[in-house]
Symmetry: C2
Subunit: 231 residues, 2 copies
Amino acid sequence: MSPIDFKDYLKENFQIDFTDLDLLKEALTQRNYLNENPKETGRDYQRLEFLGDAIMQASVTEYLFKRYPEWDEGQLTEMRITMVQTKSFAHFASLIHLNEAIRLGKGEEMNGARNRPSLLEDIWEAFIGALFLDQGQVAVTSLLNQTVFAAVDDNFFDQFIDFKSRLQEKLQAKGTVDISYQIEDEVRNEDNSQVFTVSVSLDGEVLAHGQGSSIKDAEKAAAQKALNDLK
Amino acid sequence: MSPIDFKDYLKENFQIDFTDLDLLKEALTQRNYLNENPKETGRDYQRLEFLGDAIMQASVTEYLFKRYPEWDEGQLTEMRITMVQTKSFAHFASLIHLNEAIRLGKGEEMNGARNRPSLLEDIWEAFIGALFLDQGQVAVTSLLNQTVFAAVDDNFFDQFIDFKSRLQEKLQAKGTVDISYQIEDEVRNEDNSQVFTVSVSLDGEVLAHGQGSSIKDAEKAAAQKALNDLK
């Protein structure tokens, strides 16, 4: 997808009418692409990434601050770390097809960089920086409402949270405790998929049950359920 | 100075007409003050500090990005580190008399916390967070134009930059070099103040001279001059 095609895509899907195409190109351009195309006069994405990184941090911070008025700064910080991370930004970069629009050096293309999380994170931040310059904070917030912030409602970020560690920290805050997980049930469906049921216990007393298609997922679900019950 | 007096001070000196006095109070309140005054219903400054920290980072980033269009992301990052640091924020907190308005626990007051840089940094960030919520980014930028950004023009941040280390890094980038500083002159004024003149040399060849009221300051000035000549 060329930068112009991506511009059309943004207009059609997010009502973003990007004004400065050169700025959009800059956000989508990796350094080696410029080396290989000496006629290109623009820069690579790195300055815009510097800007977009700070805009993302501030946008997520404001969102969390207002959305969770009862949370203290520790809870807010924890959630921000979950949202502002490579895996998260790489996901949203692919979601809006930024990966298809990157102007990449040939060597990087051959090495599969186009879908590498670290590059996608950079490009997401650079794109947010360009959007901020071209359309202002309101447009950035509008895009985030349709992507990153919408994902909070869909519990998207739960996959990045280590609920077992969090439950342990919470329960151990008052002293040493014995937390154990036990497989309670295992069902094999006709298509050979499995459903495990696991219980989590505190000093021998069952706190909660969880289900999942693997033992690991079922344990995570049980820990998440126990954490919710504790709140 | 009470929060209401500080509100008046802001209006008179910065044309900031703070609407939500409770929000301003929250930004100025240290945790132990609440413990000692159980009738106070508000919170301490820590949530607002979480917000203001991100707003400061984004505001300084946008300022540097636009002010230095020719700088790469490395130079921008270096300057941001210099501007966004405890010593810097503590200075600006005192400059607008935030230190006088902090609602502090008695123990902290006795221990001299009112002018402790780490607390002043926190209060500066919390105040910026409150200002952002009450008056928006435009008001934050306006205050920063009169304080932090004005200080860039006054070379205020030079004091935080280690020019000798920076010169060494720059010169050594191409291999091992011999950098030496030599006192060239020393003048004692009638009031007993001294003026030192120091030269900095690269492999025996003088690069630049610097003057200062101490040898250390003169060396720093020479390194800064040499760095400027290299650009």
